[in-house]
């Protein structure tokens, strides 16, 4: 009895006055969005974009020369221009990261000299030691992140999620001959994407149902245990409801005689046009030229030339 009155008092005390907006997740969601501008980049075959994106990330991780990193950066920015997307949108995530990137670069700056002894010391005071190598690796770290972030932004701005999945399925199809479950894998990804809105709806409903029972989802108190006690009655039903959905979906698929990928035809078929091959060729050209520059070790020469120009 006492607990009931206590809870009632809590409820009347205004703890549970939650605004409607607290239950709406879509406002808080933050995944990279598709911006349809119908540009050349948008019309490119998703397979081409996937291959180029993969190459770009690999190249960005592998390079160790600042000049080639700059080549990649300029190429990606040109791509963003071609896609007619506002550059501001692509740079937005970088704004959030920038302070942290500086800290990471600083860590590299101060820890690398202790590991490599054959570098020339630029600055030394007490234990603090900065070498030319550590400066290069700190700059590289930052440019590398910029390239990958901008590249992935370009990809997500110009490719819709179902295009991505059709592209992946088409690319993985040759692997199916050796028993790789390409169709099943992409189907799982498809289900994930299309189940997502249903899940959001379910979660909103669950939150409101629990709030009607007196749960308080406000974030005023930064109390770990309290937050935990609020989360469990929300998360467990969310999992159970989703598993029920999964069961129903399985039944629905079976009753439509779905039985895996063998011998299926496809509604969406991708056909590469000459323009797609041209795009692939150009993109590969840029990335491989960056790799060649990386192999040639031109950084020292460029640095010397720049110094001569300035002096």
């Amino acid at each position: 009895m006492r607990s009931v009155t206590w809870r009632l008092r809590r409820r009347l005390g205004g703890c549970c006055v939650a605004e409607r907006s607290e239950f709406e997740f879509f406002a808080k969601l933050s995944i990279g969005q598709y911006i349809p501008t119908g540009s050349v980049v948008h019309r490119l075959d998703p397979r081409v974009k996937l291959i180029l994106g993969l190459f770009l990330v690999i190249a960005a991780i592998m390079i160790s020369s600042i000049v080639s990193a700059l080549i990649l950066t300029v190429a990606v920015i040109l791509g963003l221009r071609l896609a007619r997307v506002q550059l501001r949108l692509a740079f937005a995530p970088l704004k959030i990261m920038i302070i942290f990137l500086f800290i990471l670069a600083l860590i590299q700056l101060l820890t690398i000299p202790q590991l490599k002894t054959d570098a020339t010391v630029v600055f030394q005071r007490g234990v603090l030691k900065i070498t030319d190598r550590s400066i290069v690796s700190a700059i590289l770290l930052m440019v590398r992140f910029v390239v990958i972030v901008l590249g992935l932004s370009l990809f997500s701005f110009s490719t819709s999620s179902s295009e991505v999945i059709h592209g992946i399925e088409h690319l993985l199809r040759p692997l199916q001959r050796i028993g790789f479950p390409a169709h099943e894998l992409t189907l799982a990804a498809h289900i994930s994407l299309h189940f997502f809105p249903i899940l959001v709806g379910e979660a909103e409903q669950l939150m409101m149902a629990q709030a009607a029972r007196g749960a308080d989802f406000g974030y005023r108190k930064w109390n770990f245990l309290r937050k935990l006690r609020k989360m469990l009655p929300l998360l467990v039903p969310l999992f159970i409801v989703s598993l029920k959905h999964a069961q129903n979906m399985t039944r629905a698929m079976e009753s439509r005689c779905y039985s895996g990928g063998a011998g299926r035809t496809h509604y969406v078929r991708l056909h590469a046009q000459p323009a797609d091959y041209l795009g692939l060729f150009l993109g590969c050209g840029v990335i491989s030229s960056a790799m060649v520059v990386n192999l040639l070790h031109v950084d020292g020469t460029v640095w010397g030339l720049l110094r001569e120009l300035v002096m």
């Binding site: 990330v57 942290f100 860590i107 799982a188 289900i191 997502f196 159970i240 999964a246």
Partner: protein, 184 residues
């Protein structure tokens, strides 16, 4: 029910939960050590326990891909920056499911509920150790700091994931046994 279809659907649905937990910030619980505790890997563990190691690996792949994309396109915090590297965001996550499943398989003959909790702990620790280990190998963080994070964040995360895995799987299996024979 057709085993294969159910496996595909469960991996898709659990992948969606993992994405949802990350995107809605429901999957992060503030923690006084600075970095928030995450339970985004719990769907991976639950999927692996219910449907086997392959399903766990697929959900792990979806989870990893999402954290890569989130890190690059819409970072929520400073730590997201590291996950732009696929060797940190994707590769360690593939191992969560199979290891959780293995622990569950070994421990299940003894007792059902403790084995669920154990697999939750094992899956969560796999995530912590492999991701932090990769961060250490790439020299993004010094090893001493990694050890601290592993203890301060990794252990409560393991406890959380043990609680959630046990609660969800036990509830789900309970529902299934009660309904046996009456599903028209």
């Amino acid at each position: 029910m057709n085993e294969k279809v159910r496996k595909i659907v469960v991996s898709g649905v659990m992948g969606a939960i993992s994405i949802f937990l990350g995107a809605s910030h429901l999957g992060f619980i503030p923690w006084f050590a600075g970095a928030a505790l995450t339970i985004m890997h719990v769907p991976v563990i639950i999927g692996a326990v219910l449907e086997g190691p392959l399903v766990g690996a697929v959900i792990g792949l979806i989870f990893g891909l999402f954290s890569l994309l989130q890190g690059a396109i819409a970072p929520t915090g400073p730590a997201d920056v590291w996950f732009v590297n696929p060797l940190i965001s994707i590769l360690p996550r593939l191992a969560i499911g199979p290891i959780a499943w293995l622990v569950y398989r070994i421990a299940r003959p003894l007792k059902e509920l403790p084995s669920l909790a154990l697999s939750g702990i094992a899956g969560s620790l796999t995530n912590t150790i492999l991701v932090l280990g990769a961060l250490g190998l790439f020299r993004y963080l010094p090893w001493e700091l990694i050890g601290t994070i592993a203890v301060v964040n990794g252990l409560p995360e393991a406890a959380l994931s043990a609680i959630l895995t046990t609660a969800v799987v036990a509830a789900w299996k309970g529902i299934q046994t009660r309904r046996r024979g009456s599903s028209v």
